[in-house]
Amino acid sequence: MFNLKELRKSFLTSLWFMFLTFPIMVIKVNTITDTVEWRWRNLAFVGVSAFILSFVWRWALDRRAKGGKAKKDGIGFKATVLAKTNQYKLPGLIGIGLLVAILPFFASMYTTSVLTTALMYVILGLGLNVVVGLGGLLHLGYAAFYAVGAYTYALLHYHFGISFWVALPLGALFSAVLGLLIGFPVLRLRGDYLAIVTLAFGEITRLVLENWNDFSFGPSGIANIARPGIAGIKMKLPQATIFIYFIAIAMVILTIFLVNRLENSRVGRAWEAMREDEIASQAMGIDLTKTKLLAFSIGAVWAGFVGVLFAAKTTFINPASFTVWESIVVLCVVVIGGMGSIPGVVVGALVFTLLPELLRSVSEYRMLVFGITLVIMMIFRPGGLIQKTRKSYKFKKEGDGE
């Protein structure tokens, strides 16, 4: 590992990166005072880190290359772990449930609000997971559906005073309709083309919201959206925050339940078959048009729900919340968590939203770290944090095969 050849490699890598980062890391031109700031410390920092990291990098790649053989044992290992966790599953779930239920009464309002955001990403992730993880349709315009939900509530509330509870199904409905509208033209497109066209649809939606002032109030957005209430009771901010938190919890539970049921059904099987091989799935009697449109619109439903919730939570929305990066963040949640895996997406969403909060002191590095994390995950753990486990069936060997 630390022989001369390796040292030389790392040394050269280190030199290369020092060269590479020299202008941007070291020189800073102040165009107002016309002075140049030389930050030589950065150069030393890059040199040393690159030297060390290049060892780690090669070691990790090496390990990955060898990993192919060890895989078989991995499966056996996983099975035993699963068997063990099963017996703790129920008490574990109850424990988590209790914790979740009492948390907002002890935590600060800020924490509760952050948790609610995390839960919203759980729902968004699970919704997009239907499209990307199950249907295999790379969708980069998911934020548009989210926006439709939010604007549905905001506008209906502004013009007609419609309540949160009425807006919730309407937001989902409009979102699903937009899903169908977007789905139709892109039916023939595959892979990368689909990705860029969905991205285009997402951006068009945002640009319309930004520029159609008469309809959406443009970049200034809509303020004073009502928080959800029950039977006309006006809640103060702390109570309302907790109430929204519980709405989000309820929606997460409902979403998990629904997605799980869909996944293990005829519809879910068709989605997965389509993801695996479009031509073969057609040859096996699956109507691709219907299956695709269904995936788009069902995925959109959840974005619509969360959009309404988002508008109610922040009481103010504007188009800046629905950029392409929002779509990408949701995609990252799905991919980092584990495509197609419900617990994976849940964990992915929590990691993605809570970790930056915990690391607030270094929050400016957050996107930098996310970016590189995506790369590293794809190379070393492409299946995500929690990989999907398939449902298995047991049959009696002899007899009538029940």
């Binding site: 941007i24 990955r64 990368d192 990705a195 520029n211 990252c332 995506l374 794809m378 190379i379």
Partner: protein, 302 residues
């Protein structure tokens, strides 16, 4: 006066188209060879512009001739963008060559986030003024109201670069190897083409072109920040898809179609929707011609 306006829009459309073409070529070449959307390509372009800005900032302290500074800055930008492009490929894409397409795309998105924030943190989030280094060309005075020096330079440079690139790909040994690799990578490997080298060269050329585009447009517009790459990158990508991704003439055609549409769209319809035009024509063209204007129709072998 109406005609002037028309010609101004036409020139501005051609200028945009040229810049898109310089960036779109990188997308399309990389896609042709490795079948990957290099989502971080726009960032390479941005890094080129930043490098040029930094280099010219330092050199102008020493009171050098501005034209010289410009030449050195653009050379530095080309070298650095190419270096970043190759490094990007080695780190984020090479380990994923056998992985599903989605993995590589996400890795590319990750790199894009990383590079944007790298420049943001190491430099600044503010817009920086890009120095005016080139003198006005005297011979353009009579048509100054239609075409500026920078626009002229952009058009000429782009044309020269396109011609050179065409010759390189058609006739050089490496160009032939690149074409072979894009046709059938396994076969190319069998006949002894060094795939790694071809991929690296593709990234070098694509990044260098993006750097040229980055410097030219920055000097035309006069300011840059860390985010310019993302928008330009997406539009150039739209141009590449429009023309049929993987096709070099397609990328150029798509870029000019996009540039001119945008220019006339903002001029005659509404400037509010400047960015929407790109997306709308993309969707319209892909619906009627799913593989782009000049793209080969890829029917999967059954």
């Amino acid at each position: 006066m109406k005609l002037d306006f028309f010609f101004q829009l036409l020139m501005s459309g051609l200028t945009r188209g040229s810049i898109y073409a310089l960036i779109a070529l990188g997308y399309t070449m990389v896609y042709g060879i490795v079948k990957l959307i290099n989502f971080a390509h726009g960032e390479i372009y941005m890094i080129g512009a930043f490098t040029a800005l930094i280099v010219s900032g330092v050199l102008s302290m020493y009171g050098m001739n501005p034209v010289f500074i410009f030449l050195i800055a653009i050379t530095a930008a080309i070298i650095y963008s190419a270096a970043y492009g190759v490094t990007l490929e080695k780190i984020a894409y090479a380990p994923l060559r056998k992985a599903p397409r989605l993995s590589a795309l996400i890795s590319a998105i990750g790199m894009s986030m990383f590079l944007q924030n790298y420049v943001l943190l190491a430099q600044t989030s503010d817009f920086l003024p890009f120095p005016e280094l080139l003198p006005e060309f005297g011979f353009l005075d009579p048509v100054k109201f239609i075409i500026s020096t920078n626009q002229f330079l952009i058009l000429v440079t782009t044309t020269v670069v396109m011609v050179l690139l065409t010759f390189f790909i058609k006739f050089s040994r490496t160009g032939k190897a690149m074409r072979a690799t894009s046709q059938d990578r396994d076969m190319a490997q069998l006949v002894g083409i060094n795939i790694n080298k071809v991929i690296s060269i593709t990234f070098v050329i694509g990044s260098a072109l993006a750097a040229i585009g980055g410097v030219l447009i920055s000097s035309h517009i006069g300011q840059i920040n860390f985010y310019i790459g993302f928008i330009a990158g997406i539009k150039a990508f739209v141009a590449a898809v429009l023309g049929g991704i993987g096709s070099i003439p397609g990328a150029v055609l798509g870029s000019f179609v996009l540039g001119i549409t945008e220019s006339f769209g903002t001029g005659y319809i509404s400037s509010d929707y400047e960015d929407a035009f790109a997306f709308v024509i993309l969707i319209v063209i892909l619906i009627f011609k799913p593989s782009g204007l000049l793209g080969r129709k890829v029917s999967e072998k059954v």
